[in-house]
Symmetry: C2
Subunit: 332 residues, 2 copies
DNA sequence: CACCAAAATGGTTACGTATTCATTTCTTTA
DNA sequence: TAAAGAAATGAATACGTAACCATTTTGGTG
């Protein structure tokens, strides 16, 4: 390993000067710069970013704790976040959290020196929030929020659930069902509230409507769907709490020979890129803004890092994206 | 920032002992361990992994240079790689390379101390290969390989192109076309060779068949597809060099009111997870092994890091996965 | 109790850089 | 030409840890 000391010796200057050539060349005589650069070339010297991090107390690393990529939402957000961070000259440590490994990820992350953390895995009540505050580095949640109500960028989940439900109701569907995730996550809780509110406005009691609160892995969604098929009165419209669930429901429907929207209407929430593919063409509700939640969050995180902001509390408006998995209820 | 020195002072021991408590507690008296642990608790001490990296010359970081996630192949491989690396207690620095940013990514990566590098972006002739060898740390390519023919895990690209082409030929299609990428990438080059060979076996000259060598972004694929539609004799089957291209072709077909496979047969290569979705159900050719290329490569990379192997040169066999985007040619 | 080996602990240094402060060299001006 | 100020360079140090070597303490044995 060739160090700046070696370069210094080879160029006949001090290590300090080598450091200056790399960081503040305007403070060093052009001729010396030349001499040092030549030595750097000849020795094939590469500065040690670890040593630099140690002395500067800056790692240039952002930690991202994302959900798994089989969920297309995280495909979109991970893309946006990684590209943004790299474009800013930082590095990204990526983790894909699931129920199984989340705890060990948290341990690893808390022991890693990063300049900031962006994550989507937080529960509404989660000790992690306070551990992160103790760490003393900036962090932000996207998609979900904590009950402390700080450091998050989310969509208006209640409104999203409301708009989705209203859409299928207005198409004449009266027999709905809901497939969502655990309510410890603010996302699922809020969206279900919107669902219930829309029903209530039509004089329907949400408790009378079949609801499935499932984990978001393939198997559990399939189990929920099997349950759904066993219902006495099959719903004509399935409201999924996320596009990921909706797209998996589509898959399960087609696998069993059902047609969508003929046999089931399906609507999601998130408006992920994949939902726009014409083979999917999923009706959904999503953010009004041009950029996705991941982008908005990482942008805000950098503002915090640069002390331009301190506390982010951002709720983005949503709108309906009608596509081909919903249609008028012919049975009316 | 509380350091191990602070802990030492607070516990009334030396910094060396604190270090030992954390790394080799079996060498320290239980009572002392207890004392130190208590001090660690009380001061909320977290070891500085940067300082540790500096002295140990190990960062615990693997750098991944992947393609963008709008290509579903990289969704699968990134998932496998990140999860594998994290499970092994390492961190992953992720980059998504495109034509635009690849150069700056290389610069960043070469100046970053990582324990190893895994990448898919290498060209067949690429200076990067030699720069990486100079770096002196283990690296591996997945999907593509370099002409030096070292450090790679790939599928049998020629065979893949051959099987895909043969499949549509055997279904009675005689008017084919090829949509692939630049031949500086070993993947595209090999697959096209297989395409040409299959045609030749049927007495067809590959040069007489419409071929499109496009960049793999949406726009360029669309341009190629528009060209295709202008052909005097429209092909009945489209052979795409990757599932990513094939899935985008599907999208373009449906967008224009064509039906697949009625109006066009479409076949891809890679057998990405998304191709299995029943809304897509893409006929494709893919790896015979259970695990994807990313997984196989990262597994091998760790073997190299642990000195169990030195040079990886692995070509995986492939097979056909017939699904619903191909069918017998009715026009015969 | 004396002695010795083993166990436990501590002092010091190295890792490779940026930074602080001191010193030398150069340039300008009276 | 001398003095003063600016520009350029260098020496020493800090960052926080692990590792090496030296020293002290402990426990067992004759």
């Amino acid at each position: 390993m060739v160090s700046s000391k070696d370069v210094a010796k080879h160029a006949g200057v001090s290590q300090t000067t080598v450091s200056r050539v790399l960081n503040t060349p305007e403070l060093v005589k052009p001729k010396t710069v030349e001499k040092v650069m030549k030595a750097i070339e000849e020795l094939n010297y590469i500065p040690n970013d670890i040593a630099r991090s140690l002395v500067q107390k800056k790692t240039g690393i952002i930690t991202l704790i994302s959900g798994p990529l089989h969920n297309p939402f995280f495909v979109d957000t991970t893309t946006a976040i990684v590209n943004y961070v790299n474009a800013r000259g930082y590095k990204v440590n990526v983790y894909f959290g699931t129920e199984d490994n989340l705890h060990s990820i948290y341990n690893a992350v808390l022991e890693t020196k990063a300049d900031a953390i962006i994550l989507s895995s937080m529960l509404y009540q989660d000790d992690l929030f306070f551990k992160l505050e103790k760490l003393g580095i900036p962090f932000i949640m996207f998609n979900r929020k904590h009950q402390e109500n700080r450091h998050f960028v989310e969509i208006d989940n209640v409104q999203a659930g409301y708009l989705a439900t209203n859409h299928v109701l207005s198409l004449g569907h009266q027999s709905l069902c809901w497939i969502g995730g655990p309510h410890q996550m603010s996302t699922f809780y809020g969206r279900y509230q919107g669902f219930a509110r829309a029903l209530k406005e039509q004089g329907i009691d949400a408790k009378s409507v079949p609801t499935f609160f499932t984990n978001t892995n393939k198997q559990d969604i399939e189990s929920a769907f099997e349950e759904l098929l066993k219902l006495d009165k099959r719903p004509t419209a399935i409201c999924a709490a996320t596009d990921a669930i909706a797209i998996e429901i589509l898959n399960l429907c087609l696998e069993r020979g059902f047609q969508v929207p003929r046999d089931f209407n399906v609507i999601g929430i998130d408006n992920v890129e994949l939902s726009k593919h014409h083979s999917i063409s999923l009706t959904t509700v999503g953010i009004t803004a041009e950029e996705n939640l991941g982008f908005l969050a990482i942008e805000k995180l950098f503002e915090v890092m640069e002390k331009k902001s301190t506390c982010i509390q951002q709720t983005e408006s949503v709108k309906l994206f009608p596509r081909n998995t919903t249609c008028k209820n012919e049975l009316i």
